[in-house]
Symmetry: C2
Subunit: 113 residues, 2 copies
DNA sequence: CAAGGTGCATCAGTGCCATAATACAGCGCG
DNA sequence: CGCGCTGTATTATGGCACTGATGCACCTTG
């Protein structure tokens, strides 16, 4: 009903980013083809391509035309650093205020681990 | 250009919720009128109304037609509990996994306080 | 009663998103 | 070379959420 439905291409992007960081798609290996990943996820190949392009633009994957897209060396660490900084700089401050407002502290978090 | 990362009416909703919890809009008091708040925030009155409706549906504010919308007694605590549960049950688990993936621990958070 | 403020309903417009159907360009392999 | 696999460009279309302008019903106040 609300904005729970983030755009599909962004969901796919996050999913792929997590997989790269966790080594599911190791450096030097090939990402699933646009068509294969689309079929697997039940999405449209173009939508997958749109998600892939984000990584290509950031230099995290390398395109070999006619072959596939390969994870660049150091991509996992680069991605982790990038997202880490983004989280600490932008999300955490707001999150901190919000937790304070909702009266949530470390003990509450541990209770829900 | 109309597409922010987050819909305006949801931003307004969060902003108002925070104000209610913090007592800026005390219980029994009247919320700013739709038109007044819209002018103040540079938004459309209808967009503000959409944000207000969420609170009305949840029974946190009471509408007196022709007069205004009043904060119901106990609204602040009810809102805090609701958001608190929502955070712990839905957001925190994902956040926890994400922080682990990004190699963020308590020390990092304290460093950015 | 008249006037101004309130919320709210209706209709219309806009832009992003997702999908679809093709078509094209490059590469590897038999 | 021929075939099948890659990514990519093009165009078109439908859906849906968000936003916007106008007008109406209701209440209080003087």
């Amino acid at each position: 009903m609300t904005q729970q439905s983030r755009p599909v291409y962004l969901k796919l992007r996050d999913q792929i980013a997590a997989a790269i960081i966790e080594g599911v798609y190791a450096e030097g290996e090939m990402l699933p083809s646009v068509r294969a990943f689309a079929a697997e996820q039940g999405a449209n190949p173009l939508t997958v391509a749109k998600a892939y392009q984000q990584f290509q633009a950031d230099g995290l994957v390398e395109v070999q035309r006619g072959v596939g897209m390969y994870v660049v060396a150091g991509a996992a660490e680069k991605l982790r650093r990038s997202e880490r900084e983004q989280f600490l700089a932008e999300e955490w401050p707001e999150l901190r205020l919000r937790m304070k407002r909702l009266d949530i502290d470390a003990a509450d978090l541990l209770a829900h681990s």
